[in-house]
Amino acid sequence: MTAPLLSIQNLGVAYGSGRDRRFVLRGAGFDLAPGQVMAIVGESGSGKSTLVRAVAGLATPAEGEILFEGVALPPLGKRSKTMLHGIQMVFQDPGASLNPRQSIRTVLEEPLIVVGKLDGAARRRRVEELMDLVHLDHRLLDLRPSALSGGQKQRVAIARALSMEPRLLIADEALSALDFANQDKVSALLLELKERLNLAMLFVSHDMRSVRRMADHVCVIEGGQVVEQGPVAEVLYHPKSAYTRLLLAAALNPAAALADPRLSAALEAGGPISDEALAGVMDIIGANALMQEQSPS
């Protein structure tokens, strides 16, 4: 058993202060080994983004600890170079994650200048290497982000994150703004990079299809609480929480879910869904045993 790269212990994040203080995440905890992918799954507003933003230093924990390579992570401004470079992030909105006033070359070169290890010629070579790494044409380097497609922008954002040679990559809904075809391509790229660079990942998503493709472990968050977590096979094939079951049904076979009269009625009514109404969902999950259907080709 290798030592964990990232260890989250009893993490809580709150907004507001005094009587107005409200926890958006509480009691989250898990370990992540180097080169492993942890999927963080949940609704919008469930606290899943908050969790990874706390790791990235963009949100401040109210309680608990985040250990990176055995050292407790302070707020962003107080992090050492090793910590900063070790953790990088790819954001949800490809349109907002690149400075519209910079060329792609500048976007990729800037972190290298900040790190300051390479001289001009070496930096240019490194920028081209980074483009190769994410399978982008070098001719794009002199364009502005607005000239790129969503998928290309997201690849540039990945390349920028990789320029710091991180050990942990946070992908916060990095695929959800892309269309189906690009989602598949970018998730394939992330998987390839994970293998090549032994990159650990926090992969935030509510798309069970890409979770199944990407993750080694899954952590499901609902209403600011971790409702279930474990190895991907266990969570996807033997989901325990109602939310996970419903999410799986939605991803695997919405038609079958709506064809189930009890489940359909419960869905139509909204609100919490009883275990009885969800009984049929396990059949859907079983019938579509994920591993048989769609083996990775």
């Binding site: 990235a56 230093g57 963009l58 962003l76 401004g77 992090r79 170079k81 900063l84 470079h85 953790i87 990088q88 992030m89 954001f91 949800q92 909105d93 907002a96 994650s97 690149l98 400075n99 006033r101 910079q102 800037e110 972190p111 900040v114 790190v115 954002a157 920028r160 994150a161 710091m164």
Partner: protein, 268 residues
């Protein structure tokens, strides 16, 4: 294509160049000393020999006084804008960058200053100073109106710090100076340039209003506001005394607005 030059912006350019010439050459441009009294030529109508725009009740050349008024008004408005811009932008930027307490303090201060009409505030400050003169007026206008800038800069910069590309830049550990120079300030340029131009137009009006009330320029100085105020007594007899400064103000303000409008279109 919005980059083509409209007549309005060409006109504004001409007005700007004219301002510059007046700033540099002053009285030489009209050929008269704006203070020279000639009681034999009182209230001469425009186009009178040697007095293109006529004379006032003391026989002083109206054109010379208008141009001097322009030096005073435009100069004061420019300096006041610059002061408001510098203070406001500095405060706004500082507060936006994680300055939780500074942001709170700024909010309090701007709420406080904006709960009084800035003009009333300026009148009060000048009255308290007990001194009127170019710098008293200019400093007061600048110091009273900077929250306009700080508020806008604070709002825009705060939303920029929520933007993903700025957060990605922060995560590389770059210096605050670099973060501002490369990611924050360039994004603020469009808004700020428009704001500066409109603020300038407002300062022209404010300065003239103070002079009109007799608390801006010192007694006897040729400023547009003072000219309007003095010309009131001769409104029917010598309408050119009031029409001259009024038109001058309108031209400057329209020019400033068309520049602002143009900048706004360019950056959209």
């Amino acid at each position: 294509m919005s980059r083509s030059l409209s007549p309005a912006i060409v006109g504004a350019g001409v007005v700007g160049l004219f301002c510059l010439a007046v700033m540099i050459f002053g009285d030489a441009l009209s050929g008269h000393d704006h203070r020279a009294i000639d009681l034999s030529m009182r209230l001469a109508a425009p186009l009178a020999p040697g007095h293109l725009l006529g004379t006032d009740e003391l026989g002083r050349d109206v054109l010379a006084r208008l141009l001097n008024g322009m030096r005073w008004s435009v100069g004061s408005a420019l300096c006041a804008t610059l002061i408001a811009f510098s203070i406001g932008t500095t405060f706004g930027l500082a507060a936006a960058h994680k300055g939780a307490w500074l942001g709170g303090a700024l909010k309090l201060l701007t709420t406080f200053t904006q709960s009084f009409p800035s003009f009333v505030m300026a009148v009060t400050v000048i009255a308290l100073l007990g001194d009127s003169g170019f710098w008293a007026v200019t400093l007061t206008l600048g110091l009273v109106t900077w929250p306009v800038f700080s508020r806008v800069v604070y709002a825009e910069a705060s939303s920029l710090f929520q933007r993903e590309y700025v957060q990605a830049a922060e995560m590389t550990g770059m210096s605050v100076a670099r973060l501002y120079a490369h990611h924050v300030l360039p994004a603020l340029v469009p808004t700020l340039s428009v704001l500066v131009v409109f603020h300038f137009a407002e300062m022209i009006v404010a300065e003239s209003a103070l002079s009109f009330l007799g608390i801006g320029a010192p007694l006897g100085a040729a400023t547009w506001g003072a000219m309007l105020s003095e010309g009131r007594a001769f409104m029917l007899q010598a309408p050119w005394l009031t029409l001259g400064p009024a038109f001058a103000m309108v031209i400057i303000i329209v020019a400033a607005h068309s520049v602002g409008q143009h900048l706004r279109n360019l950056t959209r």
